[in-house]
Each structure stands twice: as structure tokens, then as C-alpha cells.
Symmetry: C3
Subunit: 122 residues, 3 copies
């Protein structure tokens, strides 16, 4: 069930998106916290209209949000966030003179109301 | 106040987006949980950069996130998610040979800090 | 750490996006709730596929979601939402004959698992 959304500012579009999403899924699956690899649903979104801070200057960010069914321990969630950060640190472009920020958020999804299924072929 | 976001992978763009959003709003309003029909604010977003799982192969997904002011019972939230799933099951394309996943998440919004208003005409 | 996402329906694209995002960051920073101005990461997203309500007719909306590390008081969150609303009320277009809605949501982010860093230059 994990849903991962990777946002990145357009000025970091040297980010190898396909490779990064695959590496994120691999890192999450290797944690042992995900039952089936096909449950991992990750997307990347390039942000065109962004404002970081007030001062101005060259800056960008990558931000990952991981949504999981509630029930993991705080330690497990922290470890998953760190796995994501490892992947992103290794792949995020760092253009000269640009301040690049990285952040990772983990969100608990309400388990009781969650719907999940594979649609049968027509 | 409900906010609904429907994400779908671009390889499912046979999804009839306008019809689906209207059907979702109708199904939510018929639940009796929404006070005014005009409160329903639904959008669809096609995802171009996606990775599902690790193994590869043809796959896609639709995912709906419904955000409601906190206060509904677990049963009401479950019923709303199921209403959304009914609409999506009936409309999501199922291309031959493609594994298509469907998921629905319900999120409680913080009621105390929520701002909502209709802007008066200038 | 605050993440702000401003969604607006495409029929309101007279919204001055760059100016609005800067004004939002300024208003949030002036609250005293944000430690460093460069922590403010705001983006705007234009929505092309939208359905508001059921009845039809000309309508649009702007919706801001502010994500903060958990720990603010309800009063502080309410005040931040109101600061955002002030900025949006002043800048959102109100085309003749169109019903325009404004909403602001504040979300607590899980503090224990949050990752945040500035990437060192390569």
C-alpha cells in the first residue's frame, strides 16, 4: 500500500527520475515493511511555480512524502524516512551556487477506511 | 468542504475524467454526509512519472484521496471510501495485460484551523 | 520546515502566482512561528481537470495546504491559516458571474520521522 510522492523543483530536473523512483521502491521493499513489491506506488512531480523563503537567490528542493497504513512504530517510520533520504542524497543534483534542500515526510493513512484492490481484467 | 484528488497513471488516460469527477461528487453528495453540493471540490491529476513496484511489467493505478473535516465516524468514512471505489471500478480502463490497482484513502482535516469561504464579487 | 501547496483552478489563472507565493512566505515568516525564512517551501499548482459540486455553472477555487511539524497550539495554527487567507483574499481573481471559493487547511507532520537537511555542494 505505500504511496510515495517525490516533488522536485524544476531547476533540479537533472534528477534521474525513473532511476530514482525505482531505487526508492527497492530501498523501501528491502526494509521488510512492505508485503508485496507491487504495492509500492511511487510518482514524481516537477514543480514549476515555487518560492523558497523570502530572500531570493538560487535554491531548489526535493521533498518525498511516504504514505503508509497506520501501525508502524516510530522507529520503523524513522528508518523508512532515512532509507528514502539515502536514495535522494545520492541522486539529487547540486548545481554550483544553488542551495538545495532535502526533506522526507512520513504520513499515517487511516487503516479502517482504506480501500485497495487489483481490478480484474474486463 | 470535501476535497477529493483523483490521481491516475497516464497509461490509463482512457479514464473519462469529467464524467468520473461528476459521478464522484454525486456519489459523495448522495451519502448525506455533505451539506452543500457546491462544497465538493474534486480534481484529477494525470501522473507521467510513475514506478509501481520493482519487477516491472505493464501496470497502472488510480488513487483517490478524500479530505474531510474531522468528526465523521469510522463507519461513515468507510462508507464514503466504498462509494468512491464503486465509481472508480465502473470507469477505470483495464487494458489487456495490464495490472491495474485501485485505492482510496480518507483523511481527516483539522477542523479548528480550517478556513472556508465564498469570495464576494469584487 | 513549512511546506505550502497552493492549488488553484485554471480559470483563475489571473492569480499572480509568483507574487502570491512570496506574500504567503512573508506572512508566514512574520508570524514568528518559522525559525528560518529559507525553511519556507511553497509551490503553486494549476488544476486543469476539476469538478466543483454537481449543479454546474461558473465556479473556481483556491486551496492552500500548509504542512508544519506537529507541536503548534490550535491557536497558532488557526492564526497561520488566517494569515494565508488574508493573502489569498487580496489576490484571488473574482471573475464576474463566477463563484470563487477559498479554503485553507493546516496539517501536522510527524516530527519524529521527518528528515530535513541542506545538501552540501558536491
Amino acid at each position: 500500500m505505500p504511496h510515495l510522492t517525490l516533488e522536485y523543483t524544476r531547476n533540479l530536473d537533472g534528477l534521474p527520475v525513473g532511476d530514482t523512483l525505482l531505487a526508492l521502491n527497492e530501498a523501501l521493499f528491502e526494509s521488510g515493511e512492505v508485503q508485496a513489491e507491487s504495492d509500492l506506488k511511487s510518482r514524481a512531480i516537477a514543480l514549476d511555480a515555487v518560492r523558497i523563503g523570502i530572500a531570493g537567490g538560487a535554491c531548489g528542493f526535493v521533498h518525498a512524502q511516504l504514505r503508509l497504513l497506520a501501525g508502524r512504530t516510530p522507529e520503523a517510520k524513522k528508518a523508512l524516512a532515512e532509507r528514502i533520504a539515502v536514495v535522494l542524497r545520492a541522486r539529487t543534483p547540486r548545481p554550483a551556487g544553488m542551495m538545495v534542500q532535502l526533506s522526507v515526510e512520513v504520513v499515517d493513512m487511516d487503516r479502517d477506511s482504506y480501500v485497495k484492490e487489483k481490478l480484474p481484467q474486463a
